[in-house]
């Protein structure tokens, strides 16, 4: 798999900001987690009413 690897090779890239020191890889992971959290909040989920025609109720 190493031939396809685009990340694990080479020295790590780091962001330095005052006392904060974070790898670019970790920063991306955190940004994606925050984005997923926001999407989970705002993206509308299918409700029971939307699927009423699919189901059977009595």
């Amino acid at each position: 798999m190493s031939a396809l690897s685009i990340v694990a090779e080479g020295p790590g890239k780091y962001i330095h900001w005052g006392v904060i020191q974070i790898s670019v890889a970790n920063a991306i992971i955190i940004a994606v987690m925050v984005l997923l959290f926001i999407l989970a909040l705002v993206v509308p989920f299918p409700t029971h009413d939307d699927q009423a025609d699919e189901g059977h109720s009595r």
Binding site: V7, Q21, A25, L41
Partner: protein, 320 residues
């Protein structure tokens, strides 16, 4: 007798649901994601740090570390529990947390050097040096080893001038009351270069020879291991707990734990491990008891994120 008011489950409306379909879709998605991400990102495949690598990259440091183990001045020799009783170790206020654990893995620092050397055969000079060492009193042994480590000294760093021979073993004066310490330290260097030191240190731990405690203690007493870690941004003062070698993602969920090590008073405290642990336990308790803590429990009222989650339900409820 009170009447049972629980409704019959068959009275509720029902919907068809294909659990097997959901399971198969989830399995396919997770498998494709796992293989795809593994292909793109791979995994760190850092070569193991060896005694042989240390001996070749920084022989002077290995000799200095060996002499310091004999003098009893290394980090592990002065660590306290679980290896020895040389220090109280980490404390939380008056509670000696580290000492309470007891000396469960007794390690004599001099034995990290003498143990492997005792197994070498066919070297009369080494045998004589070992016999010379064993015949001396503990005070004499410490005097020899301390005189040798002082003579080697340290290189200039952080504005401090060089001490002794500046850390260069080759520049140490030939005679200086070192006893057999130079011969023992150099013999350990030879054993490490030949690749025999790991086996000699790990074979004495347990039946399967997989106990790395002693070899890791010796390795971490030298500068080589830490230098490698710092070069990879894995040092304690580099948020190292969060990081992984190279560009691979690390453990971002450790951010709060490692954050405390970067700021005062923890960054300058010798007792930081216990203090940071205590603080994290306190914060964990606060999180556990949020529903009971005035002020904290009102945050959802001030920042009503849950209304976003329930907005659709609330709209329907209002219509009804």
């Amino acid at each position: 007798m009170s009447r049972d008011r629980t409704p019959d489950s068959h009275d509720f409306p029902t919907r068809r649901y294909d659990l097997v379909k959901e399971f198969v879709i989830a399995l396919v998605v997770v498998t494709v994601l796992s293989l795809g991400l593994a292909a793109i990102f791979s995994s760190p495949d850092e070569k193991a740090i060896t005694m042989s690598g240390w001996a070749k990259a920084d022989p002077d440091n290995l000799v200095t570390t060996a002499a310091s183990e004999l003098a009893g001045t290394t980090t592990s020799a002065t660590y306290g529990a679980p290896y020895n009783s040389a220090a109280e170790g980490q404390k939380l206020g008056p509670i000696p947390l580290q000492k309470l654990g007891g000396v469960r893995v007794p390690v004599d620092s001099a034995d990290l050097v003498l143990g492997p050397l005792s197994n070498v055969s066919g070297d009369p000079k080494l045998s004589a040096a070992l016999a010379h060492w064993k015949a001396a009193t503990p005070e004499q042994q410490t005097r020899w080893a301390t005189a040798y480590t002082d003579a080697i000294g340290t290189a200039a760093a952080d504005g401090e001038p060089a001490a002794g021979a500046g850390g260069e073993v080759g520049k140490v004066a030939a005679s200086g009351g070192y006893g057999p310490v130079p011969a023992l330290s150099t013999a350990l260097l030879g054993l490490a270069k030949a690749g025999g030191l790991e086996g000699a240190l790990t074979s004495s731990g347990n039946f399967y020879g997989g106990d790395q405690t002693r070899s890791l203690l010796l390795l971490s007493d030298g500068a080589y291991l830490e230098d490698q870690a710092v070069a990879q941004n894995l040092g304690g003062d580099q948020w190292g707990m969060m990081n992984e070698v190279g560009n691979a993602p690390g453990q971002p969920w450790m951010w709060l734990y490692t954050f405390w090590y970067q700021v005062k008073p923890f960054s300058t405290s010798d007792n930081a491990d216990a203090e940071v642990w205590g603080l994290m336990m306190l914060l964990t308790l606060l999180l556990m008891f949020v529903p009971f803590i005035p002020g904290l429990r009102s945050i959802p009222r001030w920042i009503p994120i849950h209304r976003l989650v329930w907005r659709s339900y609330d709209r329907t409820a209002q219509r009804r």
